[in-house]
């Protein structure tokens, strides 16, 4: 449904997006995730038609909608997309119903049809009681719902979301995640969702593209990213908590044997243990924090700027200032080269 071919975008000499290629089927929920400045918003804006790519192509279904090589792009309004802005971009001089209505009016729908559609989407989002309010008279979560209602009202085939939950508080964010997935299913559209929050990516996506410095580090379903991270960046970016990366040089001798000296070893938090006394397979860290997680305990230690996190049953009571001994499994889950590439 959405195919990107070697997509690139430069602003002057700065390459915001470089050679991105990926393909998702109709009905997919694609999440673009990465740290700020990784190029994910630029990609979304290119999908929306608000920016013209400087290289590569964007294909929706059978139609090429942007061609960077030839420098043209189809107007946003004729791409069959809807976009929820990070700022919501609600028109402050129109009521909730007016905001939903305007795009339909621009589309040229009849009055009766519009009224019916407004009612429908407001009910879908659970805000039918707010139709007569102005955007400044409703809460942040409600504004968010209005923005989504406005987007889906003209029934776009592709829904685009630009960090839509970043302005909400933590509890509301979790609620809206579910809400968004429900809307996604109800509309049957293909969604593209941009976020810097890997938890959102992991919980919502059917497909995830992890971006870093304008490139896709890895593209695949969420479970695949955690199970088989392709690069050191992905390994330390996804998962709750993310996996641990230890330079081979810092490993105990017994465990370092047979591993390339420059490489880094990845250990999953659930594979680490905590022991009372140092052993041949343990590493000593300064205790930093511990928190209960679903009946187990997540323990983090620091050593210089390195962090190590283990999820264990029944951790000893530790206080800041204590030394914590992490016991490592005999083999790392994955080994990455110094460049970040996966070795085996």
């Amino acid at each position: 449904m959405i195919r990107l071919e070697n997509l690139g975008k430069s602003f002057g000499s700065f390459d915001a997006v470089k050679e991105v290629s990926l393909d998702v089927p109709r009905g997919a929920f694609l999440v673009l995730v990465g740290p700020s400045g990784c190029g994910k918003s630029t990609m979304l804006r290119m999908l929306a038609g608000l920016e013209t790519p400087s290289a590569g192509r964007i294909v929706f279904g059978e139609h090429t909608v942007s061609d960077g090589g030839q420098g043209w792009t189809i107007d946003p309004s004729r791409r069959n997309v809807g976009l929820v802005f990070q700022s919501y971009a609600l028109w402050p001089h129109m009521t909730v119903a007016g905001n939903v209505d305007w795009p339909l009016k621009v589309k040229g729908l009849g009055k009766a049809e519009r009224r019916q559609r407004i009612e429908e989407v407001l009910r879908l989002l659970g805000i039918d009681g707010l139709a007569g309010r102005y955007p400044n008279e409703i809460s942040g979560g409600q504004q968010q719902r209005v923005a989504i209602a406005r987007m889906i009202a003209p029934r776009p085939g592709i829904l685009l979301f630009d960090e839509p939950l970043s302005n909400l508080d933590a509890k509301l964010r979790v609620e809206m995640r579910t809400e968004l997935l429900r809307v996604h299913r109800a509309t049957g559209a293909t969604s593209v969702y941009v976020t810097h929050d890997q938890v959102e990516a992991m919980t919502m996506a059917s497909h995830v593209a992890v971006l870093n410095n304008g490139r896709v580090e890895q593209f695949g379903p969420p479970a695949e990213l955690v199970a088989n991270p392709a690069t050191a960046f992905v390994a330390t970016f996804v998962g709750t908590p993310p996996a641990n990366l230890v330079p081979v040089a810092a490993l105990p001798e017994a465990l370092a044997a047979g591993l390339p000296a420059e490489a880094s070893a990845m250990y999953r938090p659930e594979e680490l243990g905590i022991v009372a006394a140092p052993g041949p397979d343990s590493l000593a860290f300064d205790f930093a924090e511990a928190s209960p997680v679903a009946g187990r305990t997540m323990v983090t230690g620091t050593s210089g700027d390195r962090r190590l996190t283990a999820v264990v049953d029944g951790a000893p009571a530790l206080a800041v200032g204590d030394t914590v001994h992490f016991r490592l499994p005999p083999r790392p889950a994955v080994v990455f080269a110094a460049s970040g590439e996966r070795l085996k």
């Binding site: 929306a48 038609g49 608000l50 107007d75 946003p76 309004s77 004729r78 997309v81 809807g82 976009l83 802005f85 990070q86 700022s87 919501y88 971009a89 609600l90 028109w91 402050p92 001089h93 305007w102 795009p103 621009v106 589309k107 102005y134 955007p135 400044n136 008279e137 942040g140 504004q143 406005r150 003209p154 630009d162 960090e163 970043s166 302005n167």
Partner: protein, 578 residues
């Protein structure tokens, strides 16, 4: 238990006392003159003035014709200013026009040039020989200037628009800067055409600013005295401001006060109506600040023509009037502005064969004392308003609840609704005669200081508020947490933080006084000569060069002070950010 209640009681009393004191201050400064002018017209001997002005035999000349002219000026200026100011604001904020910053800066300048300066410049260029005296530069070039372009409504309108459009520009540009480009892009995705986006999204969102710009410029135009006096009076075009001035000058004070009250009513009505349109449920404050970026309209082929148009507007309203004023203060004949330049009007000694023996302004002791008087007034008022504003702002910030605070708040912003010349009339009404043991203040320096302090109170309270907001609260509390004593906090936190804002506010007050004419034109007496009034007098007596030379002095002083204030303030102009 008892001690705490006692203390609370005492503290409450302290606050109430303070509030009563401040209320008395703003009451005497602001409410009393306005009440007095109303009461004066209601006294048995004077109440007949109401019917004379509104329905009597002379009412057509006293009220209705000036009222018509005033409204034409108000509406015309408001429309012109919103069009020009709005156009420039749109260009600077939302498009990719070249030299946006320069245009943005230039567009704020005309408001710093006093309107009598622009009017004098217009006269130097366009006056024809109809009312005698020297003819202007264009007629000197051999062009025939029709009366309607030399005198009366059209030049007054043009001069006032050239002066006030920068007010509309500032208000509209600030509002457009908050129109998140997301709002426009959301409309683009909906498939709206450019014109539909402009009329459906951008204009409605900017509407409050447009209305505010219109009502502010309307109020400015109806209360302006200088332009209609210089360009309209010679052909007997009267506005309410000039009529009021004339009536009080000839001693018909009761009638003058009636006109003043009506003028206040009109100005206040429109400001109130503008406010009523804007407020209400649809508060247009844009929602949430996160996200959003500036994406500019691409002007394409229209880029250069639009830039040239904007540049022309800016040059004609800033550089050109100043150049004309300077040239004409050097040229013996305004019909030949750029020849035979002489410094006579600046430094020359009295010479009977030259300008009826008037010496140059720097050799004229009267003008020299006027300069000193004006500077002294500006400096005194800067100090008094800053102190008064700070006091009022402090009381409102600390004890801002209750009817007393409400009254203080309302009263201190009341002068915004009162045209300067009417305010001057009110001061004459109150202080023109002795009050009890106090002597009549008319013709004294303290009267000028009092009137100006009261007149600038709204501005001063705003400055005070900004300063207090900046300083009090978290910043002071975090210093208190360190255990710093009050004097130490004052020296290390409060004064350094507040001083720049206060100094900038005081400088702007100084400038406002320097270039004000409408407030002081009625309070002027030969014992209290002020530069702006002297310039006006010279101009109306036909000594254009002297008027222009004095105006150049005023301009130089006020521009220097404004630049200094801007530096101190590092004024935020959000629409200039890229």
């Amino acid at each position: 238990m008892t001690t705490t209640t006692l203390r609370q009681g005492l503290r409450l009393d302290g606050a109430t006392l303070l509030k009563l004191g401040v209320l008395a201050l703003v009451g005497v400064l602001i409410a009393a003159p306005l009440l007095r002018i109303v009461l004066d017209t209601l006294s048995p001997g004077a109440i007949v003035a109401w019917s004379e002005v509104t329905t009597g035999r002379l009412s057509r000349n006293l009220l209705w014709v000036p009222l018509g002219n005033t409204l034409i000026l108000g509406v015309g200026v408001a429309c012109g200013c919103v069009l020009i100011g709005g156009f420039l604001a749109w260009l600077v904020v939302m498009t990719d026009v070249p030299f946006r910053r320069t245009i943005g800066l230039m567009a704020t300048l005309p408001f710093m040039i006093p309107s009598f300066a622009t009017a004098l410049a217009w006269g130097s260029l366009f006056r024809n020989s109809r009312v005698g005296g020297q003819s202007g530069f264009l007629e000197g070039l051999g062009l025939a200037i029709p009366d309607w372009l030399s005198w009366g409504m059209v030049p007054t309108l043009i001069v006032l628009i050239a002066h006030y459009y920068s007010l509309a520009f500032t208000v509209i540009a600030a509002a457009l800067a908050t129109v998140n480009s997301d709002l426009v892009e959301a409309a683009q995705i909906a498939g709206a055409k450019r014109s539909r986006i402009l009329f459906g999204i951008v204009l409605p969102v900017a509407l409050p600013a447009v209305v505010a710009g219109a009502s502010l410029t309307f109020a400015g135009a109806v209360s302006n005295f200088a332009a209609p006096a210089l360009l309209g009076l010679p052909v007997r075009m009267q506005t309410m401001a000039t009529r009021l001035f004339g009536l009080i000058e000839v001693g018909q004070t009761a009638r003058g006060y009636v006109v003043a009250i009506l003028l206040i009513a009109i100005s206040a009505l429109f400001l109130w109506a503008g406010n009523a349109v804007v407020s209400g449920r649809r508060s247009y404050a844009t929602i949430t600040g996160k996200g959003g970026r500036a994406k500019r309209f691409v002007l394409g082929a229209a880029r250069t023509p639009l830039f040239l148009l904007a540049a022309l507007v800016c040059l004609l309203t800033t550089v050109v009037p100043v150049v004309i004023l300077i040239a004409s203060s050097l040229a013996p004949s305004s019909s030949a502005l750029f020849s035979n330049w002489t410094l006579h009007y600046w430094t020359g000694a009295s010479n009977p064969s030259f300008a009826q023996g008037q010496p140059g302004i720097f050799s004229n002791p009267f003008i020299l004392s006027g300069t000193g008087m004006t500077l002294a007034l500006g400096a005194s008022v800067a100090v008094t308003t800053t102190l008064a504003g700070l006091l009022v702002a402090f009381v409102l910030a600390r004890h801002g609840r209750g009817p007393l605070a409400g009254a203080i708040n309302q009263l201190s912003f009341l002068p915004l609704l009162v045209p300067g010349i009417a305010f001057g009339a009110a001061y004459i009404a109150l202080f023109g005669a002795p009050i009890g043991p106090f002597p009549a203040l008319y013709g004294t320096f303290p009267l000028l200081v009092l009137a100006a302090t009261a007149y600038l109170m709204p501005f001063a309270v705003q400055t005070g508020r900004a300063v207090i907001q900046q300083v009090s609260g978290d910043l002071d509390e975090s210093a208190r947490m360190t255990g710093a004593s009050f004097p130490r906090r004052l020296a290390a936190i409060t004064v350094p933080l507040a001083s720049r804002g206060l100094a900038a506010g005081a400088l702007i007050v100084f400038v406002k006084i320097m270039r004000d004419l409408s407030l002081v034109v009625l309070l002027f007496t030969p014992t209290t000569p002020l530069l702006s009034v002297l310039a006006y007098r010279y101009a109306s007596e036909g000594f254009g060069q002297f008027a222009n030379a004095i105006t150049v002095v005023i301009l130089v002083i006020s521009i220097a002070a404004t630049l200094l204030a801007n530096r101190l303030q590092t004024k935020s102009q959000p629409w200039l950010k890229s």
